[in-house]
Amino acid sequence: MAAGGFRNLNGCERGPRRLGRVRASLVLALCLRCLTAVQGGESDALLTAWLETQGRLKTWSAEFTQTRTLRALREPIRTPGRLWFTAPNQFRWELGNPPQTLAVRTPQELIVLYPRLKRAERYPLGGEGREPWRDALALLDAGFPASRAELESRFRIRSVERLEDRAELTLEPVDSRARQFLSQVRLVLREPGFALLANEMRFSDGSVLRNDFTNMVANATFPKEVFALALDEDVKVVEPLKR
């Protein structure tokens, strides 16, 4: 080092040596860039393939176990349920057996019914308003994007990880206000075929809500009543987002 230092001071060999270092750095950077590009390309291919599969999906139904690991509770809560989905964005979630919570989403709104409480909540989903709660609710269909544009309008893709028999996508809400409540969404897909095995939502307080799906059926025909939620007269309907 000392010799090098002297040489540098004398001006001898300084230029070529430094140039050599620069070249080495450039080569290293290029290698890294190529490596990243290869990985990025792979991820992109996986994402494209998944979205193509999603595009072909007309309907989908499954049973699931929902696990809520909440910071407020010492033990996670596990609840069984069922899910029906019809492209592009209609779904029905039933949580509990018998159902204690039903959520039906149509293109215009999301209705959440609590039969035991005789209470229903209506969340209009149209319009330009971007209230954080509305974003958080819309995230319930995060596993079923209609297109890449739609997916990227709501989420940033943080990572695409390919494991032995599955792939994991980690998404983050684009909207900073949505991120105040929901920090991350993870989708677990079966490889090959891209069937949705699980989705997981991480809330900003550290709580996690995970659905593990079983008995998945794709492109079956559902009766119309599935997405029509009949509300009894004694059910009180509220609109929590309405001022």
């Binding site: 809520r68 909440l70 910071r71 407020a72 509770l73 010492r74 033990e75 809560i77 609840t79 979630w93 949580l95 509990g96 204690q100 919570t101 959520a103 959440v112 609590y114 909540e121 330009e128 308003g129 971007r130 209230e131 709660w133 958080a136 609710l137 319930l140 909207d175 900073s176 206000r177 409540f181 929901l182 809330f203 307080d205 709580s207 929590p240 001022r243």
Partner: protein, 831 residues
């Protein structure tokens, strides 16, 4: 010693001068221009004085995406907080997001304000018998709810301490919920940063400096590497308006005074081409300004935003006295100072008193700000008369070396006074048209064109308060952008409820809430918000406190129940803090208010302590077609106000006063005209000239698209006073010159042109004022004076010719119209 004996009185003058200038303060608050007895003004003043957000600088941050807006707002807040010598507080998001522990303080206090029935329900819910079932239900909801709101709430509040009785929000409970909306628009791309200056940086003089310092900090922050791209920052709020007004006031004063002085100097030079008298005149005009400012300091102490316009007006009026005296002096010769002063003293004093009286009448116009302007000009005019006679005249005599025999001779013969020496031509008797038709042709043309303009586009009356606003303001558009981004639409009206103590305010709030609920049910108002749920009720606090402390005593039992129900420590953290606050609360001898910074920030927005007691602030969103009498203005201790109400109230006041004022001025003018002419034909001609001048003003306003507003309406009595002057001078001059129109125009006409020119320049310079009202007043006065001059100097002789026909001498033979007229030819008065 001789000089000392001669000028000792100047020493005496210096005392009030120094005292007055030392006492002088400047006030740029628009509300201080307005009558304090109007409810809308009183309310707005109270709001401005006592509510926290009124003193804050609002920095708006607009970015293409929510993340950039949030990052920029946070960076600005951090940078500004570091400037501890400049700012007291910076907020860029609700304070409890930075201090979540404050939420518990606020909740604990809010519960103490609840009605006893709510406490019965709470104590029952948390009783050892019912708590396990309640917690089981909460746990089940945590397992099955799909509502993020409910999940978030139950997660940290399984006891339901954040659930208040129904109806809390309806009466403005709002509280913590919705507070985020105060800082960010719905799409998150537009955010606010609220900056509260240090108490010692809020004054008139400090506002501009402080704002520049803040802008410097913001600019440095925006130039830092981490600053997101394409972010636009703007400034509004009281400090921004104050800085703009202060800067505008200084610019107005400089530009209008310098502009008027330049015009005066140019006109004087054109007329006389003498440096000595010109410099003397300019010096004396500045002495007049200084003395008037000192008098303003002595009488008023504080000079307001509009009164700053006095300087230009005063210059325009004061110079007339100087011109009259100088002209006479030039005619009489330098040694005749005493004689010239004696000869002109009566005319100048009379003119000064009538002009001062006309301006003093502005005090009856209904706008105290404008009244102060009138008083200042009135005092200044009197000062100017004295200064010109005793200050300028001796100075001018030194510079007036050449005496003009021709003028002296004319003066000795009682001939026309001033400015005839502008031209060496003798009176010719020419200048009249060949027939009455030709004489009336210009009148006809003006009547047709002006009449058409007025009939098709009569200048409307502006009922808004735009005339009180600054022009070319950057803070104003920023404020409008906030309304647009936050979807507020029309600004709500403010409701101020006062009382000697908290209990009195609470009672009034309850009564008001009932009244407003009825109005809302009848669709008379769209919505309302009152801080009833936040307002402490001392009786309830006294009743609730023992129960709260009893609940706090069960803290361990509650913890155990939470553990049994499966809740972790986080689930009980909020309840722990709330219980701790209750336990720490002492038996209130007074009323409990929250002590933590976040809660204070919130309560300071709706509650304020005043020397007389307490004030609560609410809002009412009126229905689109608000019917008069809908608002509860008749309730004791309730004030409904808002800028949108202010315009109507003020205009009503000004219009009512103006009717009487114009009637009074009109009556006085008729009397003066009769005393001057002693003949109804001449009186009628002067009145017609005045009316025609007003018509020309209206036509010009219509052509330029101007409107009447509460400031420029007060120009009318001023214009009546000025307009009648011109008519009198022209008619008297016609008499003196035996209807020799060419001579009249060469003598009186030129004098009037010179004097009107300086007056128009003075008023015209106000058109560039930063205050919209003062600018419109200046514009209307300048055009009005010009219209009065055109009417009196160019049209009135023709009417006289048409009215008197053959008695007019078209060939220059001097004769007066009538024996009476001959007897009563006075000297020209004010020029």
């Amino acid at each position: 010693m001789k000089a000392l004996r001669r000028w000792w009185w100047l020493g005496l003058l210096a005392v009030p001068l120094v005292l007055g200038l030392a006492r002088l303060r400047f006030d740029v608050d628009v509300l201080n221009l307005l009558p304090g007895d109007l409810p809308a003004v009183r309310g707005l003043k109270l709001h401005q004085e006592y509510f926290a957000d009124e003193g804050e600088l609002i920095i708006t941050v607009k970015a293409p995406d929510p993340d950039s807006a949030e990052a920029a707002a946070e960076q600005l807040a951090v940078a500004l907080r570091a400037a501890t010598n400049r700012v007291e507080r910076v907020m860029w998001r609700p304070p409890w997001l930075d201090h979540p522990e404050d939420t518990a303080d606020f909740l604990a206090w809010l519960w103490l304000n609840q009605p006893p029935a709510a406490w019965r329900e709470l104590t029952e819910r948390l009783s050892p018998e019912h708590l396990p079932a309640h917690l089981d239900a909460a746990r089940e909801r945590l397992g099955t709810s799909l509502s993020p709101i409910e999940l978030a709430r139950l997660g940290f509040d399984p006891l339901g301490l954040t659930s208040f009785p129904e109806g809390l929000d309806a009466v403005g409970g709002g509280g913590l919920s919705g507070a985020e909306d105060r800082f960010a628009s719905a799409d998150g791309c537009f955010r606010l940063v609220l900056v509260k200056p240090h108490a010692d940086r809020t004054g008139f003089l400090q506002a501009s400096v402080w704002l520049e310092e803040v802008q410097g900090t913001v600019d440095r922050c925006a130039g830092s590497p981490g600053w997101p791209g394409d972010v636009r920052v703007a400034y509004t709020g009281k400090p921004a308006f104050l800085a703009e007004a202060a800067g505008g006031m200084q610019r107005d004063m400089q530009s209008s005074v310098l502009g008027t002085l330049a015009v005066i100097a140019a006109l004087f030079w054109l007329a006389h081409r003498r440096w000595g008298p010109l410099l003397g005149l300019l010096a004396m005009l500045q002495v007049v300004l200084l003395l008037t400012l000192a008098l303003g300091g002595l009488f008023h102490g504080t000079i307001n935003l509009v009164s700053f316009g006095f300087a230009a007006i005063l210059l325009g009026l004061s110079v007339d006295y100087g011109l009259v005296l100088y002209q006479d002096l030039a005619a009489a010769g330098a040694p005749a100072v005493v004689e010239v002063r004696r000869r002109n003293a009566r005319a100048i004093s009379g003119s000064a008193v009538t002009t001062a009286a006309a301006f003093a009448l502005l005090n009856f116009g209904g706008l105290p700000g404008l009244g102060q302007l009138g008083t200042l000009v009135a005092m200044g005019v009197l000062v100017a008369a004295g200064t010109m006679m005793y200050g300028f005249l001796p100075l001018a005599a030194r510079g007036c070396a050449v005496s003009r025999p021709a003028n002296r001779e004319r003066e000795a013969n009682g001939g026309p006074l001033p400015l005839s020496n502008l031209s060496g031509r003798a009176a010719s008797g020419r200048g009249w048209p060949h027939s009455r038709m030709w004489a009336l042709a210009p009148t006809g043309v003006l009547l047709l064109v002006g009449g058409w303009m007025v009939l098709t586009r009569l200048p409307p009356v502006d009922h808004g308060t735009q005339s009180l606003s600054p022009r070319h303001s950057q803070a104003e558009p920023a404020l409008r952008e906030i309304s647009r981004q936050f979807g507020r639409g029309e600004e709500p009206l403010l409701v101020l409820v006062s009382g000697r103590d908290e209990a009195a305010v609470h009672r009034r709030l309850e009564a008001l809430a009932t009244r407003l609920q009825t109005a809302q049910a009848a669709a008379a108002i769209a919505s309302f918000e009152l801080p009833l749920a936040l307002w402490p009720n001392p009786d309830w606090q006294r009743a609730n406190l023992p129960q709260a402390q009893a609940l706090a005593g069960q803290r361990e039992a509650v913890r155990a129940a939470l553990r049994v129900a499966g809740f972790a420590a986080e689930g009980g953290a909020l309840a722990d803090r709330v219980f701790a606050r209750w336990a720490a609360a002492t038996d209130p001898t007074g009323v409990i208010w929250p002590a933590d910074a976040s809660s204070r920030w919130l309560t300071e927005r709706v509650a304020a302590r005043t020397p007389e007691g307490w004030l609560a602030l609410g809002t009412v969103q009126p229905a689109p077609d608000l019917a008069p009498g809908t608002l509860p203005a008749d309730m004791d201790g309730v004030l409904v106000c808002g800028w949108q109400l202010l315009g109507e109230e003020l205009l009503g006041r000004v219009e009512a006063r103006m009717t009487w004022l114009i009637a009074g001025v009109g009556g006085a003018l008729l009397g003066c005209l009769w005393l001057t002419f002693g003949r109804w034909t001449d009186v009628a001609l002067a009145v017609v000239a005045l009316a025609f001048g007003c018509g020309l003003l209206l036509a010009t306003m219509a052509a330029l698209g101007w409107s009447w507003n509460l400031m420029n309406l007060t120009a009318l009595p001023l214009l009546l006073g000025a307009g009648v002057d011109y008519a009198i001078h022209v008619q008297l001059s016609l008499r003196r010159h035996g209807n020799d129109l060419a001579a009249v125009r060469r003598t009186t006409g030129r004098a009037l042109l010179l004097c009107a020119g300086t007056t128009i320049a003075a008023f015209g310079s106000l058109a560039f004022s930063s205050n919209a009202g003062l600018a419109s007043l200046g514009q209307v006065c300048a055009v009005g004076v010009a219209a009065a001059l055109v009417s009196a100097l160019y049209l009135l002789p023709a009417w006289r010719y048409a009215a008197q026909g053959n008695s007019i001498d078209l060939h220059g033979d001097r004769n007066t119209d009538s024996p009476r007229g001959r007897r009563r030819v006075p000297k020209p008065e004010r020029l």
